[in-house]
Symmetry: none
Subunit: 187 residues, 4 copies
């Protein structure tokens, strides 16, 4: 039941937004009553926090795998990170959209916590860029912080438009992005 509430909520939050989805909407969808919701979740926000935590946990685990993989050079790591972000947005489109859109409905404390996690993603990317510069793989005249933010922006923004049924798969988009990031678009 807890799982069912969790999944139904995500689906509804994506469709109508967190604010516009009432507990009543959620339990109506499941044919139970509001009491049931509060048996499993302390509050509406705690449910939202759960969704965020799960999403971040998954991302951080995958990032961790990539970063500690010593068989990859930094070029390959950037590729894997970009692909990982896009893949998660594709395979978990609903969760991803809820994550990116509804973060602001967390209270201050929870928000800080999630922002901290999100920052780990950013610093992970930044560190790879920095390492690549050190190793001579990447140009040293481009600020690694800004470059990382640019790459993350390109990836994260795709939650707005990425369509799994569309012409391009997550892998193809990742390939194009990496090609552009590594070699530029100029002839």
């Amino acid at each position: 039941m807890k799982q069912k509430i969790y999944e139904t909520s995500i689906a509804l939050f994506e469709k109508a937004g967190f604010s516009n989805t009432s507990i009543q909407d959620i339990v109506n969808c499941l044919g139970v009553t509001k009491g049931t919701f509060y048996y499993y979740f302390q509050s509406k926000e705690q449910l939202l926090m759960n969704i965020h935590l799960d999403y971040m946990e998954r991302l951080l685990t995958q990032q961790h795998e990539i970063l500690r993989n010593e068989t990859l050079d930094n070029r390959a790591k950037v590729y894997e990170l970009v692909y990982m972000l896009l893949r998660n947005i594709e395979t978990q489109g609903t969760n991803a959209r809820v994550f990116f859109r509804e973060m602001r409905h967390l209270n201050k404390e929870n928000l800080e916590f999630i922002k901290g996690k999100r920052d780990q993603i950013r610093t992970g990317m930044t560190d790879v860029i920095k390492a690549g510069i050190k190793e001579g793989e990447f140009r040293k005249d481009l600020n690694p912080e800004i470059v990382a933010l640019g790459i993350l922006g390109a990836c994260n923004w795709s939650y707005n438009w990425f369509n799994p049924e569309g012409e391009f798969s997550d892998q193809e988009v990742a390939r194009i992005y990496i090609d552009m990031i590594l070699h530029g678009i100029e002839t």
Copy 2:
């Protein structure tokens, strides 16, 4: 007074979000009463729509200037477009954040309208990429639609982190982005 309500609203919407900002909050800030708000605006949503229209209008006007400027080659146009987007996010940070975050609170009809405008920005960028490919300025082996989305993502995402008081100005960020986009980060 209309202008004062408009500006106060944007400030509050940014701080707390559209849903979490009540008309009461807005008018309290100004020391007037709710009636006054409704004297100037038909509804809370119409105010939000006004904010969106203004923001898009400004962007589209500036984009138009760039696109029709025949002294610029496509490389220069991409630069100007990137700079324009970042500059607007810097100089109108508050408006920009409200724009990107609260779009979903428009009703269906208004949302479609604004999405149409937003699409003009996207096709503007795409067209420049395509033209650049035709002119031999840009590589022909990278899909222009995806490239455009990548560039816009990198730019737009900056509303999340861009800080006018920070180390880098909009112009510097634009320069780094363009350098990366045109030449890549690889050595």
Copy 3:
């Protein structure tokens, strides 16, 4: 202008009801502003009271004419009274409907006053019935008060259905009513 406000109000009150018609609605219809309304009328209720007073005044004047006409016997007076009531509902349908429906929106004092006037109509009818009984024109075994209320009910109720464009004119309805009242419907 006062007259224009007066007439527009009646039209709107009939369409949407007194409560559901705002001063704004009224002045919008005339292309003026609310201040103008309050220049001519002290309050929304005072306007309603004016409408009621006018309607009653007209009715009472006409009733007076009939009652003091010595060339008519009581039978003829009943006919004239019935015809007068129906005619007013026909020719002033809008006013009539506002009168009958919105009386309750007057405050206590005004309501009492109007009810007093309305009672004069009732006692006028009752007195004619009583006189007719005395003169031997009408049966003495029917309570004149109840009979008067029955006749008034039949007439007044017609504001609910009377349609000037319909099959029957006010005069024809009056003739049928009087025939029924005087002779009954039984063979």
Copy 4:
């Protein structure tokens, strides 16, 4: 509780009118909160609709009983119908007054529905008159539609003045009305 809200509402609607009775007024009367009202009723109007439906249902059931009673001739049926209408106005005075006065506060759809039901009462009466004319019980030179409207008017109007504590009972009024309707008031 639902029943209590229902009854309290009717009482208040009668006293002050539908528009002038707020949900707050209703729940104050019961010492509960507005939430409770909305737990049982979807809206203020739905409650009004319930009141109307109940009233009409009761009337139509009773009418049905009379019409299908084959032991009654048409004369007797008219009597029973008149008595039924007056009896309901007497015994359910409050409901009746709310019914007659507040019908206009229903929305278009609901209003049409209720008007349809009300029309069944009218056509019921009309049909009896027509049948009576066919059977030779009633005069054939009086239009049955108009006659029916006259009778209904006399009856329905009584919601304005009928007082159960008054000199005359519903039965006595019905007897006088029927006598007048059948035989007329002329000597």
